[in-house]
Symmetry: C2
Subunit: 155 residues, 2 copies
Amino acid sequence: MAPRSRPLVLDDVSKAIIEQLQTDGRRSYSEIGKAVGLSEAAVRQRVQKLTDAGVMQVVAVTDPMQLGFYRQAMIGIRVSGDTTAVAEEIGAIPAVDYVVLTAGSFDILAEVVCENDDDLIDLLNKRIRGIDGVQSTETFVYLRLHKQFYNWGTR
Amino acid sequence: MAPRSRPLVLDDVSKAIIEQLQTDGRRSYSEIGKAVGLSEAAVRQRVQKLTDAGVMQVVAVTDPMQLGFYRQAMIGIRVSGDTTAVAEEIGAIPAVDYVVLTAGSFDILAEVVCENDDDLIDLLNKRIRGIDGVQSTETFVYLRLHKQFYNWGTR
DNA sequence: CTGACTTGCCACGGAATCCGAACCGGAGCG
DNA sequence: CGCTCCGGTTCGGATTCCGTGGCAAGTCAG
């Protein structure tokens, strides 16, 4: 949770390792080593370094729909005053899984995951719009998730 | 890439397994089994089923910044005609990692990952705005990613 | 140049894990 | 009752994980 580390240049081998784990996070070190031309131990050390440095993390990602969260939305938020403070507060809400400060007609974009429409309404009215500094919000209800990639690493 | 398997109810044990893998995608089956009260083989079978069904996938997620992608943005797109077709075309662009059909003042939201501003400009002008049916776009350049969670599974 | 230090990789071996297959018990059904 | 399906457990051999030690190639100071 603390990516406090130097730039940490990534050579081609590390990129290759990341690509391997992007396609399958459970691939064995020796298999990766075979693919990138390194020994098992070397791969292991590099993966450890990469995760320690916060460059990469291996996790399970899920389909919210199939877990009972039937309503997702992106919320554009206009703020007066310190955007960071507001972002902090919004990020503290459990239903919010993604917060980013932006330039443009919104100051903050927040993605939320709710079980149903009632939860979304409550979230908006009772939580987000009540935050000090929030001027206005605009909600984009998700109709269909069409693409979701995690392998933007090296192209 | 094809979540073609509808019903598949998730009991508490499967949810617990998912939570384990959400905190660490490389945790061993036996360790998970110990945590959720199942044998190693049973955990393995369930994980296999869950991934096959598209409920969950274990992957490496990376910090784009540390991989040389210094410019991210969300692009709101207004479309005339079939939104699905446009979404399909946008999703085919490598720099686009996230596409969702929405209700609201945008028809499509697309997150893009670029190396720099020039790439972003080219992406917008030469790729996205050239797609048939795209009426207008609005770009929200990311200033700072503030929160990003993958563990929305069960709360 | 040289010696101390650092860094990254490989080799190795014991412990742990993975993984396929066999087995088992309960539920549903004719 | 016999049969099948399902999900769990057990089991054993192959594989992987992981700590450790060694080695070669820098780097730096004197």
